[in-house]
Amino acid sequence: MTTTRRALLGAAITAPALVQAQTQARLLIIGGGFGGATAANFARRTYPWLQVTLVEPKTSFVTCPYGNLVLGGFRQIADITHSYDGLRARGVTVVHDWATGIDANARSVRLQGGQSLGYDRLILSPGIALRWGAIEGYDEAAAQTMPHAWVPGDGAQTLLLRRQLEAMPDGGVVGLAIPGNPFRCPPGPYERISMIAAYLKRHKPRSKILALDAKEAFSKQGLFQDAWAALYPGMIEWVPASRDGRVVRVDPRAMEFETEFGTRHKLDVANVIPPQSAARIAADVGLTDNSGWVPVNPVTFEARAAANIHVVGDANIPGPMPKSGFVANTTAKQAVAAAAAALRGEAAPEAVYFNTCYSHVGDDYGISVVGVFRPNAEATAIVEVPNSGGVSPRGNLPDQRRLEATYADSWYASITQDMFG
């Protein structure tokens, strides 16, 4: 050992910054939503020796959760819009650009602006793509007349649907086309029905909601239907696939949905939640399977097709876990911990994943589903812990409903602080 190096190491004992510089590794994160923002914040808080860069095209983030409360008039879009300044203050380098390609061998990500970013570990949290054309006639142009409001972007889709509800005459019909599984936020369409109903009940009580579903059953179904009968009697008609609920074609000019067996429904406001897949970059890099989603290792969340690329958020197939913001948050932390361990030559930590999805269904009326999940003994799949989790109890339980509505608001405040604060 040379004198210089000995001196350097000696100094390192009293100067953590030098230790960090020696061990600094590059964690690159693509996507600044529930998965990516959580990963960036958690990485900086927990592993200060990591150099963290976040690539996200938007300069602020509008959450999907609580977007339904904007539709109901309970929140403004500004209430659900978050800045990346908090992450910058934590030491995250935030690059506002599109990631257009990944070279897994060279460990490099190409950006639309021409720049390339190298990495030692990559967290990919790109979200979903809407499958334009999967419902005949439903493309990006059609979404300007029949909004999806399912990928919030800058909030324009949510605000468009809100304005349409405001402009609709009393006695009008609001139609929803709801996809089959899997899709982002399984209880989301039904919370949306509830929040639209809350608005209509107050302002346009003669109106109807026609929910056409490609499924036979849905998340928290009994709880939702109990609430609809109690709070909005006669207003909501939910039609499952077996009663010709699957929408196969839309006509934005005629404002019509057409179902599998040819029934045409004329609507005043039409919300199409189309079938989905992992965002395009995941498919371009070859990480998706035939389902259109990314299979992942249950402990590290590395893509099955590419070790060293951890895929979190709605783009992956997380076993029995739903595509939710909470699951993106909990799995992003495990993925970062696994990445940090790998960089230090250690095994990934033991995993436990957690989900709670709250839904608001009316004033002071909240319901939830809880799940605790772990890798199985062989670490080949994720399974729900037996005898845990489940949905809120049914019955006339006003205190339970009121508390869950309160807890939902606390969840939103806490998790967005965990991501961006």
């Binding site: 930590p349 436990v352 809880v370 812990v385 989790g389 606390s410 405040a413 806490s414 965990d418």
Partner: protein
């Protein structure tokens, strides 16, 4: 050079910025109970509460011996060791 490795490791372990982070099993708690379990809106704080009291509370939720809105469903998914580690962490956080 080998001599220095334990010294560096000790430094890393002793660094307060690292040590204050919640264990992985307790991370999910923060998504409702707020940063460091300080509490958020109508959700009670966990920070600064007695370790044994927290463990007993969670055990009561698990056993369905205490009325719960949601905590019964949650605690039944966690091991006693995870609950003990989480209680240890929250008991050390300032209120």
């Amino acid at each position: 050079m080998r001599l220095f490795i334990p010294a560096i490791a000790a430094l890393v372990l002793a660094a307060p910025a690292w040590a204050q982070n919640a264990p992985l099993a307790a991370q999910a708690c923060l998504s409702c109970h707020g940063a460091n379990g300080a509490g958020q809106g109508g959700v009670p704080g966990l920070a600064g509460r007695d370790r044994a009291e927290l463990v007993a509370l969670m055990a009561a939720f698990r056993a369905n011996e205490r009325p719960a809105t949601i905590m019964g469903r949650i605690t039944r998914g966690y091991s006693e060791a995870e609950i003990a580690a989480s209680a240890e962490y929250f008991s050390r956080q300032g209120r």
